[in-house]
Symmetry: C2
Subunit: 157 residues, 2 copies
DNA sequence: CGGTTTTCTTGAACGAGTCAAATCAAGACG
DNA sequence: CGTCTTGATTTGACTCGTTCAAGAAAACCG
């Protein structure tokens, strides 16, 4: 880590507080944590931390560019510190585990739609849906088919 | 439309009911409607229709492959009848208007990640975030910058 | 037309997230 | 080092989208 969290907070115009440092530490250890996970983990360091404080901290971190919020459909929001680079996410349909994917291709034709219907696009968000290794091992094969069936018609890129 | 809704419902093993036909009609007129919109619109045809019935109908339609559910981050779920083809969505950050985007490129390199971290991927979902024409016209330029700032670090494909 | 099964209605409940007022702490300044 | 000002956190209530459960209604089969 080049700069400390203190420095990053100050650079974003934010005060350095215990709740913020606790949340940053948790996010560094768990790259895609939801609010509940963050609260629970942060309380080992700061036992009186309230969920609302965590919402406030995360809002400040996202606004300050220190954290990013991702919201997989049907799951509570997740937060990550990896910011400012070009990466997407793999999400497990069964356990909502998330893994990062680097975009391996420089120019991605599909991500600059030809007809934008009058929209000015500033971000292309890609989510890869599937099953993680652990859930595949636990899950009988027919359940996998059910999961896929429920989402048939989904885009394949 | 090649086949009638009655036929499509039966083909999916679903009974043909008034609530279902009402919801299908609304979705045909409004391609990306949320539950509230569907309930309100469907009541012009079927005044006693309950919100819970609409949830049930939509769940059945999605399970039967007649409709697709899309959940833009931070907005209630939207439903569309366009199913089984390869298209993505443009979403307005300001008004959550949604437009369809056809994927104009046959092979999309970015959508087959090289390292899937043990995941078996069955769907790549792409959401383009931006501002629609109407909101750009209404919105002062600095507000646009704020919106973009709030999401800096987002992937650009 | 009657019986069986699915679907709808009605009412309650849940989880994630937000709002607002009061308290508290961080950092600036003297 | 203490005070002051502003920003952050706590506490508590609340909203919204969605889901659950039991009984009533309707669709479909024969």
């Amino acid at each position: 880590m080049e700069t400390t969290w203190q420095e990053q907070l100050r650079a974003a115009g934010l005060r350095v507080t215990r709740p913020r440092l606790s949340v940053l530490q948790v996010l560094a250890e768990r790259p895609h944590a939801d609010v509940d996970t963050i609260v629970t983990a942060a309380r080992t360091v700061h036992p009186t931390l309230s969920p609302q404080a965590v919402y406030g901290v995360l809002e400040a971190l996202v606004a300050g560019g220190l954290a990013r919020r991702i919201e997989p459909a049907g799951a509570p929001a997740l937060f990550e510190l990896r910011v400012g680079d070009n990466h997407h996410h793999l999400v497990c349909r069964s356990c909502v585990a998330v893994a990062d994917v680097d975009c391996t291709v420089g120019a991605a034709p599909c991500l600059t739609p030809s007809d934008t219907a009058g929209f000015v696009v500033d971000e292309a968000e890609v989510v890869f849906w599937g099953l993680c290794r652990a859930c595949r091992a636990q899950t009988p094969a027919d359940t996998v088919q059910v999961l896929q069936h429920d989402n048939r018609g989904g885009a394949r890129g």
